[in-house]
Subunit: 142 residues, 2 copies
């Protein structure tokens, strides 16, 4: 896959990342398998260079496979660098956010259970707690 | 990913495709996510050039993403060519077999439900039925 243009799975509609909100930037979504007969949905997300996903948490687990580009991920109290072929498991009820590098997109597959709970965003108290760590304070976008 | 050497997900054990049998050739398996908290398991299979997976069927569904190389797949009564980024859904109780091209590996992600039934191989009558189609007769390996 080229590293500069957005990658698209051929023939699969490119969707908005989420229906509404301004808590993310430059993210697209493709549903590769809807989970019929499996119970888990496989999606491809691509964050353009400089963009980010929503800072959120939920009961359900994410299993993520980075397939192109590079970026960083907040998982709980850690910010880790990720690039092609890294595997990332986001455990239940852990604050997480994905950011593409300034100069490269971040494309990843994300597996989730079909019957999943709605993500929660941090309130003022949760944000203050996250920001007590300087690395996290610098990393997160809301 | 290079097209000639086997590709390996870093840090993930490379397993035998199946525990026993001679109904497949040159296939490895890596379990990328075991399904904990999701209910579906994501595996990476790589068939070396000239190799094939087991000819089988089962109640559970396969959702397959080809990520490298090329080959052909029997699904029911059709033999289709596949290459990087093709999506293949194998419906319930459909005979299927994956074969790498003679000159290239076939590497694919395969998503399955954790609670799945055991695959069935064709008996003599089922094989005879499959072989009534000349394309399938030429394609299948047992």
């Amino acid at each position: 896959m080229p590293e500069t243009d957005p990658f698209r799975w051929a023939g699969i509609p490119v969707l908005a990342y989420k229906e509404e909100g301004s808590h993310f930037r430059d993210v697209t979504r493709q549903v590769l398998f809807d989970g019929e007969g499996i119970g888990a949905e496989l999606r491809y997300f691509e964050i353009a260079a400089g963009g980010w996903s929503t800072l959120e948490r939920h009961q359900h687990v994410h299993a993520v496979l980075v397939v192109r580009g590079e970026g960083r991920v907040l998982i709980g109290d850690q910010v880790v660098a990720v690039a092609g072929h890294d595997l990332v498991r986001v455990p239940p009820v852990i604050w997480h956010q994905f950011r593409a590098a300034p100069h490269a997109p971040l494309g990843f597959l994300c597996l989730v259970p079909c019957g999943r709970d709605r993500p929660e965003q941090p309130d003022a108290a949760a944000l203050a707690a996250l920001r007590r760590d300087a690395t996290i304070a610098d990393f997160i976008r809301t």
